[in-house]
Each structure stands twice: as C-alpha cells, then as structure tokens.
C-alpha cells in the first residue's frame, strides 16, 4: 500500500473529485436536517424560541421514557410494521404466483392489481375511512349481510379494532408493491429448471419449495427490507384514518404532534431521533441477516 504509483494516486484524486459534489449535496439535503434534529433533541427549543435553544442534556429523552403514550407509539409502530409486512409478503407471493401463470388478459390483470399502490395514500385512506364508517360504511353492511358480525362496528374508533383496521388498509394498499417485485423475480427464473422438475415428476409444492423460493429469495429479501423501512415510518395512512388517536399512534405521528401541535421542538426532535435510531437498528439487523443468508447460498452452490 505504501508504494503507490503516481498513476494510482492520480486516479484516487480524480475519484474523490467526482464523488465530492454528490457528498456535498447529500450533506446539505440529508446531513444538515438530520444533524439539526439530533441537536434540537438535546435542547428545550420550542417553535417560538427556535433561534435561541438552551442545552438541557437528556431531559427530553427522560420525558419520553416516562411517557406511556410514547411507549404505546413504539409498540403500535412495531406491531403495524411486523403484521403488515408479513401479510403483504404472503399475499403478494400468492398473487404473484397466480398472475405468473398463463392467463388471458394477463397484462390487464397486472395493471388492475397495481391500482391501489398507484393511488395517493391520502385518497385511498379517505376511501377506506368512508367504507369503515360505523353508520353508513359498506364494510359493516357487507359483514352484517354475510353474518360475520352481529352488530355494526366502529372500526376506526374501537380501541380493540382500530390498529387491525389500519393494518388491513395498509395490506390492501401495499400488497401490489410486493406482488410487482416478486412477479419481476419470477419472470427471471430459467424455464429449463421447471422442465427438468416436470420430467422428474416432482410435486408442484416441492418445486415451489425447492426451486422457486430459493431463486426468488434475494429479491424477496430486498422487497421485505424496503417495506419494513417504509412501514416503520408510517404516517399518512394512520393520520387520515384515526388522526392522533392513542390506540393507533405511530412514532411519526407522535413526533409530529409534539413538533407542530404542542410546538415543543425539543421533545419532537428527540422522538424523531429515536425513530431514526430504531430504523437504523432494523437496517443493521437486516443487512447482517441478509449477508449471512447470501454466504450460505454461495457455499451451497
């Protein structure tokens, strides 16, 4: 390493020069707001005193530690992310397998299935809010007609139902995203493997378990990672459906409430910083697990 040729040194300098604008742009649009938020988390800043914040150390974090609403928000966010991503993955896989088969009007079907994902969340959340309405909603009408429920339910207001109702809307909205990514992976699979399995008379379930699943695994992992990160910072869907209700409040909604409604920039920033930390932790865990799996795959090949 010590004996670097002049050309190698020059190349390194050129590379740094090319990367510099990118790093500068990232530092300006991502690094600066992030650093400011983390700084405010240690101050008593409010919207009124944001120009002259006073350093108060860990007080904001101590406040959060003693706020049951915050712990509830963490719990809600984790339940929401875990449940919705699990259901979206399973349902997305099923629909992708279904649409991957030879079907008439396949293109049209794929387009139709993608619609919920293409509509802005605010719009689809409002659609569902109306459908969930306890008095005039179609969800109650259909379930009553089917005999699934005895009495109309207040889906978004009942503490025992609200989180599940929100999760169901997210599943409806984001399953197309999973379907799309899994379908793309399915189309890349080599046909000859399936022909070989067919010739050998392997049961379709075993073909799925032994051929399809291992081959789409990397794509599936990427899709799950994307969805998990997205689900952890969920805001708009829950906010439209249930506003600041405690039963469904996510960490983002908690942070927004303190930042905007209570104008307490310090506590809001502390909540936002912790949300950032949780997401970073999940990314780290996922990257580690992903790498281990990748290593296994290479060993067995």
């Amino acid at each position: 390493m010590s004996a670097e040729t002049p050309i190698a040194a020059q190349r390194k300098r050129a590379a740094l020069l090319f990367v510099a604008p990118m790093v500068a742009a990232l530092a300006a649009v991502a690094g600066w707001p992030l650093g400011r938020t983390i700084y405010f988390a240690f101050t008593d800043a409010t919207l009124a005193t944001i120009d002259a914040p006073r350093w108060i150390g860990l007080d904001n974090f101590v406040f959060l530690q003693h706020d049951p609403v915050w712990w509830q928000a963490i719990q809600n966010t984790l339940i929401f992310a875990f449940a919705s991503v699990c259901m979206e993955t399973l349902l997305g896989l099923l629909i992708a397998l279904l649409l991957n088969a030879e079907l008439r009007a396949r293109g049209l079907l794929r387009a139709a299935v993608l619609v919920p994902w293409a509509i802005p969340t605010i719009v689809s959340a409002q659609l569902w809010r109306w459908m969930y309405n306890d008095l005039y909603g179609i969800v109650n009408a259909v379930l009553l007609a089917l005999g699934a429920i005895k009495a109309p339910q207040a889906w978004t207001a009942d503490p025992g139902l609200a989180l599940a109702a929100v999760i169901m809307v997210d599943v409806w909205k984001t399953t197309p995203f999973m379907t799309l990514l899994i379908l793309a992976a399915l189309q890349m699979l080599p046909r000859d493997l399936y022909e070989a399995a067919h010739v050998d008379g392997v049961h379709p379930l075993w073909v799925f378990w032994g051929v399809t699943l291992p081959l789409i695994w990397p794509a599936l992992m990427v899709a799950i990672a994307f969805r998990t990160l997205d689900a952890l910072r969920v805001f708009d869907l829950i906010y439209v459906l249930t506003a600041n209700s405690r039963e469904t409040m996510s960490m983002s909604i908690y942070a927004r409430q303190y930042l905007i409604e209570f104008q307490d920039v310090g506590i809001g920033s502390a909540a936002a910083s912790l949300l950032f930390a949780v997401i970073a932790l999940v990314v780290a865990v996922m990257a580690t697990i992903g790498r281990v799996r990748l290593g296994d795959g290479e060993m067995s090949q």
């Binding site: 629909i95 279904l98 649409l99 088969a101 079907l103 079907l109 139709a112 299935v113 619609v115 919920p116 509509i119 689809s124 659609l127 569902w128 109306w130 459908m131 008095l135 005039y136 909603g137 179609i138 009408a141 409806w172 197309p176």
Partner: protein
Amino acid sequence: MIRRLRRRIIAFARLTLVGLVVLYTLFPFYWAVVSSLKTSQALFDTAFLPLHPSLDNYSAALLPDLHAA
C-alpha cells in the same frame, strides 16, 4: 377423462381466485365511483348500485360558483 376433469377444476379454481383478487383490489374504487354518483341522501344507504344516478357532485366539484349561487 379424469385428467381432463382435474385440469378443468384447477383452471376454474384459478379463475375464481383471480376474480377474488381483482374484487379485493378494485372494490374500493368501484365504491368511490358509486358514491360519487349518489345524491347526498342516497349516500347514507349502502346500495351496491346508484339507483338514481346524478352528476350533482361532479358539477359541484367542477363548477363551484354555480352551486354557491
């Protein structure tokens, strides 16, 4: 004979599943369109078809001045 029957059952099951998936994904939009064609009183019943379709809501959205007057 049995093989053909089996194939038909599978094709039928697949078609049913596809139908259910499309129903699940598109029903909320269908419902939005139906609701948009209902008058404000009809909005509060849950008929699956707009029995007396009206374009009032659209004209209210597109020509707010006319409705305010």
